[in-house]
């Protein structure tokens, strides 16, 4: 229709009155053809329209209640900056593949959420815009989270919600056995032993042959003073020895080799495990289970040591879509999402931990039980802080060492040495 109108406009008219009528008709036809296009462009926020009215958002909060919580938070933030959002949520495991596909076809969204250890890989591709370009700085955010969002000295991602690992315990089982919540490794071993009876294991953790296994090993590994730049040290071996002992003494099931964190949750809520390593994303499940539960920091090697836990949580980034106006708008939206009100609301409704220390007091006033996790997050470290995009290899080495030591194929130190040789170097 559009093309026809233009070509016929090029033909020379013969008589005057006819021209006017024809022009008028052509004008109407043109308008009819262009209007819907303009409307489309407006909705999609195309460059031609000049003004950005809508932003594309991609995240992996596909499950409830996170899906609803983020939908509302994003809509509220979008309203403040005067846009609407077109949000897409994919499953957690599908996100990276989707992002890589989108980056090769240049169809990345305006605002992109990434799991924090994946940021390095995506930032390395050059597909993300530095947040400082839009005036978003890391000021006021916790150290570990800044590390996770920083690639090559530039801040590429920041998020409102962090999580970490804690020691979840069944208060009733502890009371029945007359033991207290352990704070050191020796206490952990003794307590786990005391709690193990009648088909109940005192302790459970995840030592699965996947990144989940390495993630759960890190609190022990780091708190022992070990370091991912060299995984085959005496400190690392001591941390692994603790887990080997717990399984060896029968205080933890051999099934930890195959349990994911969801399985741990089931063991806990069904009363088959008295203490487990897990994170705040399980809070709703635990509340619904009717278990009288509590959470503490992960035990440390000896009294007085600081627990160092890995930081979890997602980072929001602004991909380089080639449209300055949209990128700017997306950054504005992100700034609102990271703002104090939004941040507090998101964390209290999701039981995650604020990434701004300034919000801790208000957060704890609302959820006092979360204190150990707030401390853990503030002392926490991101998995990629030291190795950046080289982290996945070391993570693979760590879970392989765990599996090798826990199946008795090698002593902890040998297992770590072999894993280091096989996967890292």
């Amino acid at each position: 229709m559009f093309i026809n109108a233009r070509t016929s406009a090029g033909t020379r008219p013969a008589r005057r009155p006819a021209i006017n009528r024809r022009r008028a008709l052509q004008g109407a036809a043109l308008a009819a053809a262009v209007l819907p296009l303009a409307a489309c462009a407006g909705r999609g926020g195309g460059k031609a329209a000049g003004e950005v009215t809508s932003l594309k958002v991609l995240d992996y909060y596909a499950d409830e209640p996170d899906n609803q919580i983020f939908q509302q938070a994003l809509e509220a933030a979008a309203e403040q900056v005067g846009v609407t959002i077109e949000r897409e949520s994919v499953s957690g495991t599908g996100l990276i593949q989707k992002v890589l596909q989108m980056s090769s076809s240049r169809t990345l969204p305006d605002l992109l959420m990434l799991d924090n250890p994946d940021l390095q890989q995506i930032a390395a591709t050059g597909a993300l815009a530095p947040l400082n370009d839009f005036g978003i700085t890391a000021d006021g955010f916790i150290e570990g989270f800044i590390g996770a969002g920083t690639y090559d000295g530039e801040l590429y991602g920041m998020g409102p919600c962090a999580n970490t690992l804690g020691l979840y315990y069944n208060q009733d089982l502890l009371d029945a056995a007359g033991v207290a919540v352990p704070t050191t490794w020796d206490e952990l071993k003794a307590t786990a032993k005391a709690l193990t009876k009648d088909g109940v294991y005192g302790f459970a953790f995840c030592a699965k042959a996947s990144y989940e296994g390495s993630w759960q090993f890190l609190p022990f590994f780091w708190s022992a003073g070990a370091d991912e730049t060299d995984i085959a040290t005496a400190e690392a071996a001591a941390a692994l020895q603790l887990l080997v002992d717990l399984v060896g003494e029968g205080s933890a099931s051999q099934s930890v080799l195959n349990w994911g964190q969801g399985d741990l949750g089931e063991q806990f809520t069904s009363g088959k495990a008295a203490m487990i390593v897990n994170g705040p994303w399980m809070t709703n499940t635990f509340n619904d289970s009717g278990i009288n539960w509590g959470v503490a920091e992960i035990p440390v090697p000896k009294a007085g040591d600081t627990a160092v836990s890995p930081l979890g949580g997602e980072l929001w980034t602004v991909p380089l879509t080639g449209d300055q106006a949209r990128q700017k708008k997306a950054a504005e939206l992100l700034a609102v999402l990271l703002g104090e009100d939004s941040l507090l609301e998101l964390n209290t409704s999701r039981y995650t931990i604020p990434t701004r220390q300034a919000a801790d007091a208000d957060y704890l006033a609302a959820l006092p039980d979360m204190e150990p996790l707030v401390t853990a997050v503030n002392n926490g470290r991101s998995r990629t802080a030291q190795l950046g995009e080289a982290w996945p290899k070391t993570a693979e080495a760590l879970y392989n060492a765990m599996q090798s030591a826990l199946t008795g194929k090698a002593t902890p130190l040998e297992a770590l040495k072999t894993a280091k040789a096989d996967f890292v170097s």
Partner: protein, 305 residues
């Protein structure tokens, strides 16, 4: 396939038209093959000789590295274990699937009440999504609370660490894969059995060949083409099994269920080493290809007989 160029036809234009016609019918299939078969294979071959990383997706740059990816993959300590596991997994799965599938096919070939219903029920494992099957089997095989160990406990057998012992895990994974593969074997072999005319058995019975002898001298030889199809397809399917192993053990404990397929997946989609993942994938394709060629040879020689 084509007729000889100088066959002495009086109307060559007609032949040419016929030929064009033939090609016209072939084109859709050719386009389909090139797009969905040719392109991925070529792409995978190219990827395996490139340094293909996450960066490549955005920048399009993937430097040529020759056979370095193959060297890395083959030299890796995981390779020999994965190779051995792949062989054991494939041979074990096929042996179990085929024997049980064959026994069931012969069993159902006799007409008896409810055989149709039972046969449909036997198809159940085939209809379930693999992820569901593996999740359910993972619960059932749990060392402490799994239903299998509880049943064995009644008989006085101590808890078996199905998925957490390096000695047992591969056998457990093979067992689950056999359970999944029996319906396919049974169905194909059953339809093969149905094609064998009854009068052959009647004639043999008159000569005194029944039971095992009838099976050896009538069923087996006549079923041979079907058997080779089942076995070759079985090998190719089993070599690339991924979801069951990932769902049950993620390749653990300590690599004891890691196969070439799971390792290739891990390299590409967990470690983002797309070049190495492609190299390992190609090695796997090459192994499948050997079986495909053996199969083609076999069918050709049996056709010439």
């Amino acid at each position: 396939m084509m007729t000889a160029p100088h066959s002495g036809s009086e109307r060559p234009w007609r032949r040419r038209r016929e030929e064009a016609f033939r090609w016209a019918f072939l084109t859709p299939a050719l386009v389909f093959l090139l797009a969905y078969f040719g392109y991925p294979i070529v792409k995978n071959l190219m990827m395996s000789v490139q340094e293909y990383t996450t960066r490549t997706f955005y920048t399009g740059e993937a430097p040529f590295v020759g056979l370095a990816n193959y060297a890395t993959v083959v030299k890796s300590s995981v390779f020999s274990t994965a190779m051995a596991n792949t062989v054991l997994f494939t041979v074990g799965s096929i042996a179990g699937q085929f024997t049980i599938g064959m026994a069931l096919a012969v069993f159902f070939n006799k007409n008896f009440p409810l055989s149709g219903v039972m046969r449909s029920l036997m198809l159940l494992p085939w209809l379930l999504p693999m992820i569901v099957s593996s999740a359910v089997w993972k619960w059932m095989l749990d060392k402490d609370s799994g239903v299998i160990n509880q049943i064995l406990g009644i008989v006085g057998i101590e808890n078996i660490p199905w998925l957490t012992s390096t000695d047992v895990a591969l056998a457990a994974v093979i067992m689950v894969n056999i359970w999944l593969g029996v319906p396919f074997n049974m169905t194909i072999l059953y339809s093969g059995l149905q094609d064998i005319p009854d009068d052959l058995y009647e004639a043999a019975a008159l000569d005194g060949a029944t039971g095992w002898r009838a099976f050896r001298h009538i069923t087996w030889p006549l079923l041979r083409p079907v058997v080779s199809v089942v076995l070759i397809l079985g090998v190719v399917y089993t070599l690339k099994v991924l979801d069951i192993i990932l769902g049950l053990t993620e390749g653990g404990p300590s690599g004891s269920t890691q196969t070439l397929a799971t390792q290739s997946y891990r390299l590409s989609f967990a470690n983002f080493e797309f070049g190495q993942g492609a190299a390992l994938g190609n090695i796997l394709v090459l192994i499948s290809l050997v079986f495909a060629i053996v199969y083609l040879r076999m069918t050709r020689s049996s056709a010439e007989e």
